[in-house]
Amino acid sequence: MARALGEALRRSLAEDPRTLVLGEDIGKLGGVFRVTEGLQDEFGEARVFDTPLAEAGIAGVCVGLAVAGWRPVAEMQFDAFSYPALDQVISHVAKMRYRSRGRLQMPIVIRIPYGGAIGAAEHHSESPETYYAHTAGLKVVVPSNPADAFTLLRASIADPDPVIFLEPKSRYWAKADASLEGLDGDGALSGNGVGNGNGAGNASATGANGKAALLTAAARTVRDGSDCTVFAWGAMIPRVLAAAQAASERGTEVRVVDVRTLVPLDIDAIATAVRETGRAVVVHEAPLTAGFGAEIVARIVEEAFDHLEAPVARVTGFDTPYPPATLESHYVPSAGRILAAIERTVAY
């Protein structure tokens, strides 16, 4: 996935001379995850540059760069290091268009490697999607595989509004995701079809026409099934698929929906899936309380109450700080925990 993201950045830089890439250690080093590797060499220090170590500064200058007509793509080095920028993001990045009655556009992408299960030290494994999804004016996107990473990042950069782009860092180098075949297009998103599990089929190759594609609600069914739907995003998708596979072996067919865009949320896709399967489970790494899973449950209740045959289960991180690496396997939802929730839900 790291290569797919780098390729998306490369193409955006190549096609649109107003695109900039900035952040800590993203230049010569190519980012601590090497996502931006080679970009500075190719596009120069003017368009791909390291900043001083100050995240509020990074987000704040993005606002000014946008006023000057640039499209900055900023990297926050890790999830928890996006927090010093929260004030600029909440009070300005998200609100400047509104405040200026549309006169100041904020085509800013803030890329944030997020999530756990990589054996990292404190502050390097958090899942901050709730903070961003609750902030009106932002879009919030989470790819789960390289093809989506490519397509969604292209669409996010092209979008005229600020996008928080959460990259599941545990998937950066996942073997199964290594192929870049099928990456093409300018980021237009096709609708909600059943894909092949790695998302490649979804990148619509409408060509590099430079037209700003709007990032729209784009949940995607990555596995079909009629007994229960599991909603998830990012690094949870492979685990959910593993659980679904195990369930299938036990005779339960689980539909898996990769939510992909938390904002705007694909409410119709969620409602449809629940209407068709009658049961649902939501999975995320972030803590339970006020996690984005709660929003999905609330939407399900609002949109598909009459079809709901069992309580919607949430399988999530606990309401504790993200734990030290040696304990994280007990914290991050495992395929086993997901399967148990599926079975409980189906048996209800």
Partner: protein, 412 residues
């Protein structure tokens, strides 16, 4: 597009006296002099008060007597006479509009208003030094700078009437950012803008306003540092009006504000913020540096907040009337008027015309504010995103249907 005469900077006055500022000794990029080139020629009027190390052109109080070389001083300050008068005019308009806004608030026409009275010189002197197409990023007290930019003041006051966040003008057309409330946060926007201009190869200056209190915020530090590292040509104009609401400068910082520039390696200067010419000359100098090679400057304009923090504030709870009275003596408008007439730059006819214009402007402003109506409900949703996503379209429909509003149930 912006209705004020273009600047006619006449550089290279003979015998230019470089004013030594105590900025620095050794820093690589720190310049130890305010005036490195001979672009500012103050033969007579500019003095450095060695006592408080402050740049000052005008006598402190009008009662201090006529300025040096009375009757013929203006050529010594290398500013076009028309510009000298224009600055007075703008200050007068700002003063009048500010008083009108305070009155409008007292009459319930504005929700709240933060008066700028006493800070007219700091704002007009600095904003006037900018080219009309160079951006200015205000905080929330810069009605004076908005006057310089020819902004419709009823549109300016949309923010304080609760009509719209940010204000109603077009920031791109006016090169004037929206009202920015989170203290100090706009400094980063100015730096980002200046970085962007530089990337486009434009050699321009960007001006950002903030207060003494704002110097404590991390954002301002990060902004100054980014500006220095990226050579973003920002003029950091700190209006040190001695107070951050109820907190005096002495509890805000233990160092002189202009000295904070040393932390970033660019020049810091302190000017008498109630002296429009000192502010103008210092800013013009900083603007030239910014245009030349992207050198930022921190200007501390020492002034005083004569009014309350805002109309919601009761300043008598934390400061004495004597303090305010003492500073009122140094009224920037009276000081400048005395100098202008003392030096024959403007006559009574000019001052009367300005007063009349200000009265007419105030009447128009009042009509504009009082006559303005709230925005329609659909505006709630209009500019959240470039296009309305479906979930917001639903909420918009709910709001327009105004579910329940017809039930007539009181809220408590």
């Amino acid at each position: 597009m912006i209705a004020r005469p273009a600047l006619r900077a006449e550089s290279g006055g003979r015998g230019a006296r470089a004013v030594q500022f105590g900025t620095s000794r050794a820093g690589r990029q720190v310049r130890s002099r305010l005036h490195e080139s001979d672009s500012v020629g103050l033969d007579v009027a500019a003095t450095l008060d060695q006592g408080d190390g402050i740049l000052r052109v005008l006598p402190v109080a009008p009662s201090d007597g006529p300025a040096p070389a009375a009757g013929s001083t203006s050529p010594a300050v290398d500013v076009d006479q028309q510009d000298l008068r224009e600055m007075y005019r703008l200050m007068s308009l700002a003063r009048r509009a500010d008083l009108e806004a305070t009155a409008l608030q007292r009459q319930g026409q504005l929700a709240v208003y933060p008066p700028l009275i006493g800070q007219e010189a700091a704002q007009i002197g600095s904003a006037f030094a900018m080219a009309p197409d160079e951006w200015i990023f205000p905080s929330y007290r810069e009605l004076g700078a908005a006057v310089v930019r020819g902004i419709d003041l009823a549109e300016y006051l949309e923010f304080y009437r609760g009509t719209w966040h940010g204000g109603g003008w077009d920031p791109v057309e006016r090169r004037f950012g929206m009202v920015s409330v989170p203290v100090g946060s706009q400094t980063l926007h100015a730096v980002g803008y200046a970085m962007g201009a530089r990337l486009d190869g434009r050699h321009e200056a960007t001006l950002v306003y903030f207060g003494d209190g704002a110097t404590s915020e991390g954002d301002v530090h990060e902004a100054c540092n980014f500006a220095a590292v990226f050579r973003a040509g920002v003029v950091f104009l700190c209006q040190n009006n001695q107070w951050a609401i109820s907190v005096p400068l002495s509890r805000q910082t233990a160092a002189p504000i202009w000295r904070k520039a040393e932390a970033y390696g660019f020049p810091g200067v302190r000017v008498d913020g109630n002296d429009v010419l000192a502010v103008y000359l210092a800013t013009r100098d900083a603007v030239e540096r910014a245009r030349r090679d992207g050198t930022p400057t921190l200007i501390e304009a020492v002034t005083y907040r004569i009014g309350p923090h805002s109309t919601a504030d009761d300043a008598s709870r934390y400061r004495s009337a004597e303090d305010v009275a003492e500073w009122s003596e140094r009224d920037p408008l009276a000081r400048y008027r005395a100098w202008l007439s003392g030096n024959g730059v403007a006559d009574d006819a000019f001052f009367s015309a300005v007063d009349a214009e200000a009265d007419a402007m105030a009447a128009r402003l009042r009509d504009g504010v009082v006559g303005s109506t709230p925005r329609p409900v659909e505006d709630l949703f209009a500019w959240v995103y470039a296009e309305l996503p479906p979930h917001l379209a639903r909420q918009r429909a709910d709001a327009l249907g105004d579910a329940g509003s017809g039930t007539g149930v009181p809220d408590a």
